[in-house]
Symmetry: C2
Subunit: 186 residues, 2 copies
Amino acid sequence: MRVLGVDPGLTRCGVGVVDSLRGRRAALVAAGVVRTDPDTSVDLRLLGIAQGLDQWLDEYVPDVVAVERVFAQHNAGTVMGTAQAAGLAMVAAARRGIPVALHTPSEVKAAVTGSGSAGKEQVQRMVQNILTLAAPPKPADAADALALAITHLWRPAGALQGGERGGGLTPAQKAWAAAEHAAKRR
Amino acid sequence: MRVLGVDPGLTRCGVGVVDSLRGRRAALVAAGVVRTDPDTSVDLRLLGIAQGLDQWLDEYVPDVVAVERVFAQHNAGTVMGTAQAAGLAMVAAARRGIPVALHTPSEVKAAVTGSGSAGKEQVQRMVQNILTLAAPPKPADAADALALAITHLWRPAGALQGGERGGGLTPAQKAWAAAEHAAKRR
């Protein structure tokens, strides 16, 4: 399975593509950032994000698009642009009939580090380890997008199928399930 | 000049098209609402909004698209969907090379009623009067979209051209300019 992760943002929108391998391993396919010029008008910046995401989807043809779930409470100064970039990613996927999954930042941290409160650097180091890279992926937005994609690959089976939880989960997957459960109760 | 106004929303996205006439009059071209099913997933709902707006733009070919400016502080429960619908409207216009204008709710109230703190019903009655309709446009989202379009038609000359303010403005236009000025200082 190929997952394209999107760390939404108006100035820098991180994109990361990961393929699942046997034995719960994952391989880096590509990672990067769609950037827009803060001095340009918002409509043209959003168009730049939409066109950039279209290119990534056309080039890498993922099976799923995983987008960070944006909450109204966070970062009042940038939350509008972040929400709008996330919306564009969802529509770009939906136009192509590609399923969309939303994951919270806590879920991502729990999935890749085992702790829902891990720091950014810890997430980047784990992305490096999981994908067996020589160095942490740069910039941070690309690393976060890869972490989102990995989170989706490693989601607990019950998360999609509604089946029983807890059988054969890794510690990270159990932490992911707990974070997901906590998010649903908000 | 033809303006298409968008009152963004995820469940109901108001759309209104207005043509300018001589002597600061305006004529209704069309108004309606793009609706999405709250029981559907967010990505498919946003796709529905995007496709609905595409149809309106293709059918009515406006010179300008006027979108309500969404603020992070307002309506925490729905602000994400509202911001995302606004973003889709901006991108739909930008893809066609149509200029986008953003107007705050206060600007809209001031433009059509002369008061930045007017109520919703007062705005609807004024939209009815301005467009010489037999009844207030329904539903409210369509009326708000028409008010946005009228606001853009009646914006002070200085708002776009950066020229001097105050010469020959109507009371409503002066209130609009004051509301715009207040919004810029936020």
